[in-house]
Every structure is written in structure tokens, then in C-alpha cells.
């Protein structure tokens, strides 16, 4: 449904997106991850046909996004990063405006509005000005507006940034609902738990796509699980202290804090006893060690390190 082939964008000397290639299957939820300024929004803008690529081709449903912008406009919905609805207009008026923008008028526009209001559960706020909605409801309205013409692909640029956890959960429920109707979703996010919910994820770092695939595939990558190593989750009472103690230990490849625990990549040969010993030496008593599969965050951390190492 979405295809990028060496998609590149340069702004002067700066390369914001560097030969990015990937494809997204119809009906999937594609999570696009990466730190701020890594080029996520730039990719979305190029795919939406509002930013000319410097090089490479982006395709939506087989149409070249820069040469056939008109052909794709009816098929894609776009919810931009900044809240970009009209503050002076009410929920109802914003929806009617977008309907008319997509050439839906009169009774058709009103019935489409009613469908979207009930889909996004905006009923209590129909006559409220957009400016007066809270963050989560603004996002719902923005999404409803982006859906007004029943697009087959929906791009969402950080839809959950800055909204509360409940609203975030509800927005994702809505995304799954849309996906079940056959829509292809392309979502950028910072949250790893959101990435875990996607059917496919891509990770962009320093303008380059580092990895792309289904989460379970990524977790079995050799770069993430080097042969002869295992990943341990170590629960203890002074995590930061423990981290400092364990990093210099021979046979520890990498260690990061994960909430109240540490995720440590160790060589198979390293006995658990030596970990216990090291931690006891710095005064940590309660230690709980188990072997785990890598999380997506482990995957991205490992790949980022590998990429940074290759670059330098």
C-alpha cells in the first residue's frame, strides 16, 4: 500500500531523510519510531505529497506521490503533528468544513458528520469550539476530520504526544477499530508500548532507516541477540547503583535501566553467581535474576549502538 524507494530529502547541506526504503502492507498498522528530528515527519510529508522529495520515489497504492499528487489526495488522510483544526469553529463546523473540502456537500456531509461524531464519540462536544476541547478530544476531532473522505491510508504524526494515558489508550482502541475495517495506518510515536501494538515497525535514527519489520521478527535479529549471549532482567533495590557496579564486569556486553529493573546482555559463560557477588559487594541484598526475551526498546537500543559504532 505504501512504498518508499530510496526516499531522500535534503534541506541545503542537511540531509533530513537519507535513502529510506520500506513498504507497508495493506491493513497493517505501521509504527514509525525514532528520536526527535530524526526525519519521521519529513517522511510523512513527502508521502502525503506536500513536500517534494530530493531523491527517490514514494508510492501510495501504486501512485507516485510527487508526480501524481492529485491521484492520491482522495485516498489518504493526514493528521499532522501540531493540532491544526480551526479554533474558532465548533466540532460540528470543523467536520462540515472538512467534508466540503473533500467535495461532500449537503445531506451527504451531514450524515458523514454524524457517523464520525459517533465513531469518535464526540457527541457531548458537538457545539463546542475546538479551542475549548482538551488535548485528547482535540486529537479525536482531528482524527475524525482526517477520516471524513474515508481514506484507505491514514497518516498520524505523533497522535498521542501530550495527551493523558486514558485518552491514549482510547485513541489506540480507535486505531484498531479502523484497522479492522481494512484501513492502512501509518503512525509515528515515541512510546515503546505503542510500538509493541503495531503490526510492523520501522526505526529511523539520524535520517537513516535502521530497521523495519514485525516486532517479533526484530526481537530475533542476530544483531539484537548476538550468539553466545543471553538477556537477563535483574530486579534489585538500588537500580542505578547496581547498574554502575555491573557495567565494568567482564562478560557484561550492555546494561540499561528498565523501570525498577536492569536489562543486561551477558555472555552465556558468565555465571549468575558472579552477578550476585558483584551486587552484594556494593551493598545490594535483594536480587532477582531471570532470563528474558528482548523488548522492542532493547532492539532499538542494540541497533542504535551498532549503527553508531559502524558510523564512527
Amino acid at each position: 500500500m505504501i512504498q518508499c524507494d530510496n526516499l531522500t530529502k535534503r534541506f541545503g547541506d542537511f540531509t533530513a531523510v537519507d535513502h529510506v526504503s520500506f513498504s507497508v502492507q495493506r491493513r497493517s498498522i505501521f509504527g514509525f519510531l525514532g528520536p526527535n528530528g530524526s526525519g519521521k515527519s519529513t517522511v510523512i510529508r513527502m508521502l502525503c505529497g506536500i513536500l517534494e522529495p530530493s531523491d527517490g520515489i514514494g508510492r501510495i497504492a501504486g501512485h507516485d506521490v510527487s508526480a501524481e499528487a492529485d491521484a492520491i489526495k482522495g485516498q489518504l488522510g493526514y493528521m499532522s503533528q501540531k493540532f491544526s483544526l480551526y479554533d474558532e469553529l465548533t466540532v460540528n463546523e470543523n467536520l462540515l468544513f472538512y467534508a466540503q473540502l473533500y467535495d461532500i456537500h449537503g445531506a451527504a456531509a451531514k450524515s458523514r458528520r454524524d457517523e464520525l461524531v459517533s465513531l469518535a464519540r464526540l457527541e457531548p462536544y458537538v457545539d463546542r469550539r475546538a479551542a475549548l476541547l482538551s488535548g485528547g478530544w482535540k486529537q479525536r476531532l482531528a482524527m475524525a476530520c482526517a477520516l471524513v473522505h474515508k481514506p484507505s491510508v491514514l497518516f498520524l504524526d505523533e497522535p498521542t504526544a501530550g495527551i493523558d494515558p486514558v485518552a491514549r489508550r482510547e485513541l489506540w482502541d480507535l486505531l484498531f477499530e479502523l484497522s479492522s475495517t481494512g484501513m492502512t495506518l501509518f503512525v509515528t510515536t515515541h512510546y515503546m508500548d505503542e510500538a509493541e501494538r503495531c503490526s510492523h515497525v520501522g526505526y529511523i535514527y539520524m535520517s537513516k532507516l535502521i530497521v523495519c519489520g514485525a516486532p517479533y521478527e526484530l526481537k530475533t535479529l542476530p544483531a539484537v541477540n548476538p550468539p553466545g549471549t543471553r538477556r537477563l532482567e535483574i530486579g534489585c533495590d538500588h537500580v542505578t547503583l547496581g547498574l554502575r557496579a555491573i557495567r565494568p564486569v567482564d562478560g557484561v556486553r550492555a546494561a540499561t535501566v528498565f523501570g525498577q529493573t536492569m536489562h543486561v546482555l551477558v555472555e552465556q559463560a558468565l555465571p549468575e553467581d558472579s552477578i550476585h557477588e558483584t551486587l552484594r559487594a556494593v551493598g545490594i541484598r535483594k536480587v532477582d535474576i531471570r532470563t528474558i526475551a528482548p523488548s522492542l526498546e532493547d532492539v532499538f537500543v542494540a541497533l542504535t549502538h551498532q549503527h553508531a559504532g559502524a558510523a564512527s
Binding site: 492529485d70 499532522s80 474558532e88 472538512y98 473540502l101 473533500y102
Partner: protein
């Protein structure tokens, strides 16, 4: 089923719908569109009245005869001067003028009557405060006129001729009372309309660019003509309403009679506003921020004030300024206003100006629609 909108008009109805709601709800924009022009016309209409009347004059009459009194009366009868004080020394006279208590000081020497009787030249000294050139010029001209008039009367008495050899009977057409508002207010309407209209139009797109709503419009199948027309129509309506207010003030506050046809007056305003909005939209296709839009507006505004013939006559301008004036919509509109309001000119006499304004509007509008790229960056 509704009919599909032709491709080039796509998005027009949506933008129109949204703009009208936004403009009506956004009270500050509405206020800033209406308030400055109204203030401008009222302030300029009154302040630019440069007919100087009854300026204060202080007199030092050393002669104190019937003849010298007659001279003072002659000054007062012009209605340009009024005597605020008679003083007893030249020093006091000079002090009053210096302190700004009087614009003019009149010093009649003690031998004034005697010299006239003797047929010798009698000198009268007039001190004029030159710090305001308009006032000084008028005082000077009137004083010279009084002197000439008095001299001729004395000469007439000596030659037995009862009438002046030459008399000019001037007839000032179209503005018989030579009132300044009649001349200035049509020009004020031109500049007042311009400031508000260009600025509002320029802001309307820049604001969307800053807020990020423009990005969503670009993703939609909206055509650029649809977008530009959707922006044009609401602002055209608002500015026409404002023109209506301004004409009403002209007629009923400044009592400037409108000699020509009202439909022509509104047609002129319509074409002028069309050109102005197109100019504003053109500025907004380039400007990234509201600040830049404001600067662009001022860049158009300033030459319009100086070179459009609003204050200074175009005919006496150096060629470069005259050339600038020919590309300003305000130039043609102000000339149209004077032709229609003051001279009551007919269509055949000013159709060229209408045509130029229409062509300017159409050209600017097309350029801004064609230049408007539905891309960012």
C-alpha cells in the same frame, strides 16, 4: 446526490464557509479591520482642514489715528486675523510672538498717517511666526493682500477712477468653497480602505501557515483557485461594507456632496478592493510569519500615501515618483473618487481608470493563484 464541483473550484465552498464563520467569530480581527479606517477618516477629515481662520494677532499701534484703525479693521475683515491684544511697546509685541501667544504681530509706526497724507511711502511692520509654514504662508499672503488693497484705494482716490482697471473674477469649479475635506476625504477613503484590506487579506493565509492548518489543506484535493476565491469573497464583502461606512461619513459627517453616480462609486470601490485583496494574498504567498506580512503591507502602504496624489499632486512629482504612482491601485482609485464625488464626471471620462483597476486586480489575483504552491518548504 450532489453535483461534483469542477476541479478548479474544488475547496471553494469549504473555504468560504470557514472564512465567514472565522471572521464573524474573531472579533479582534473584525475590530482591527473596521476601527483604524474609521478613526483615520474622522481624524484626517478634521485635522487636514488647512483653511486657517482667525489666527491670533497682536497689535502695537503707535499712530492712534482713524487711518491706522482702518488698517487694523482691514486686517480683521479678511477673517484671517483676530486681534488678541494691543500692546504698548515693540518689545512686548515681539515677546508675544516669540512666546507663541500670537502668530502675527502688527506694528504701525507713529508717522503712519502723516506719511500717507504727505504722499510718502508709509512702512508697516508685520512679524509672522514661521514655525508652521501653512499658517505663515497664509498670514503673509493675506497681509500682502491687505497692503495692496489699501494702497490701491488710496491711489484710486488720487486718480478719480472709480473702478480697478483689471478685475479677475475667479470661479472655482467642483469645490466652490475650496473646503479641504472635499479634497482630502476621497483620498483618505482610498488609503483607509487599503491599509485594512491588504493587511487582513495578507494575514488570512499567513495565520494558517503559522498555525499549521495550511498543511492539512494541501493534503486535501482543494485547488489553488478554489482556495484563493474562498479567501477573496469574504474579505471583499467586508471591505465593501467598510466602503459603505466611509462613503456615509463623507456624505453626512463632512457634508461632501456626491456629484456623480452612486453605482459607479461602488463599482470603483469594488474593483479597487479586488485589487487590494489580491495584493494582500500575493504578499501572503511569500510571507512566512505575521511580521513579514505586516512589513509587506507597509511596503505597499507608504508609497500609496506619498505618491498616489493623496496629499501631493502627482503632476509636480519627479519622474521616478510619477512612475511609481502609475502602478499603485490607490492612484487610480483616488482619481476616480475625485472625478465621481467632486466633479460628477460621467462614465466616458473615467472608464480608463476602472479598466486599469480591473486589469490590476485580475492580473494580481491570477499571479497569486498560480504562484501559490500546494507544497511546504
Amino acid at each position: 446526490m450532489t453535483l461534483r464541483t469542477p476541479k478548479f473550484l474544488r475547496g471553494f465552498r469549504a473555504i468560504l464557509y470557514k472564512e465567514f464563520i472565522t471572521i464573524i467569530r474573531d472579533r479582534t480581527t473584525l475590530f482591527f479591520m473596521f476601527f483604524p479606517p474609521l478613526l483615520q477618516i474622522i481624524a484626517f477629515g478634521f485635522a487636514l482642514d488647512n483653511d486657517v481662520k482667525h489666527m491670533s494677532m497682536v497689535v502695537y499701534n503707535e499712530d492712534r489715528t482713524a487711518t491706522s484703525r482702518q488698517l487694523i479693521d482691514a486686517f480683521v475683515n479678511t477673517q484671517t486675523f483676530r486681534v488678541v491684544k494691543e500692546v504698548d511697546s515693540l518689545a512686548e509685541l515681539e515677546a508675544m510672538v516669540r512666546q507663541g501667544k500670537a502668530y502675527v504681530g502688527l506694528d504701525i509706526p507713529p508717522d503712519f498717517t502723516r506719511k500717507i497724507r504727505a504722499g510718502v511711502k508709509a512702512d508697516v511692520q508685520v512679524l509672522i511666526d514661521g514655525s508652521s509654514s501653512t499658517i505663515a504662508l497664509q498670514a503673509l499672503n493675506t497681509a500682502l493682500g491687505v497692503a495692496l488693497h489699501q494702497s490701491i484705494e488710496i491711489l484710486l482716490g488720487e486718480t478719480n477712477r472709480r473702478e480697478l482697471p483689471v478685475e479677475i473674477r475667479p470661479q472655482v469649479l467642483y469645490n466652490p468653497s475650496m473646503r479641504a475635506p472635499n479634497f482630502f476625504v476621497p483620498g483618505v477613503i482610498g488609503t483607509a480602505l487599503q491599509m485594512a484590506t491588504v493587511f487582513a487579506a495578507a494575514m488570512s493565509i499567513v495565520r494558517e501557515r503559522e498555525r499549521g492548518t495550511l498543511e492539512n489543506l494541501f493534503v486535501s484535493p482543494m485547488s489553488r483557485w478554489g482556495m484563493m476565491l474562498g479567501k477573496l469573497v469574504p474579505y471583499l464583502c467586508i471591505s465593501m461594507t467598510m466602503a459603505l461606512f466611509l462613503f456615509a461619513i463623507l456624505r453626512w459627517v463632512f457634508f461632501v456632496p456626491i456629484q456623480g453616480s452612486l453605482p459607479m462609486l461602488f463599482l470603483s470601490a469594488f474593483l479597487y478592493i479586488f485589487a487590494l485583496i489580491s495584493l494582500g494574498l500575493l504578499a501572503s504567498t511569500k510571507a512566512r510569519t505575521q511580521n513579514e506580512a505586516l512589513q509587506a503591507t507597509l511596503a505597499i502602504m507608504l508609497p500609496s500615501i506619498f505618491f498616489s496624489g493623496y496629499i501631493f499632486p502627482r503632476e509636480t512629482m519627479p519622474w521616478i515618483f510619477y512612475a511609481i504612482s502609475t502602478v499603485l491601485p490607490a492612484t487610480y482609485f483616488i482619481e476616480l473618487m475625485r472625478a465621481i464625488i467632486l466633479r460628477g464626471a460621467g462614465f466616458m471620462e473615467f472608464w480608463r481608470h476602472l479598466l486599469i483597476l480591473a486589469a490590476m486586480g485580475a492580473a494580481l489575483f491570477s499571479v497569486c493563484a498560480l504562484r501559490f504552491k500546494q507544497k511546504i518548504g
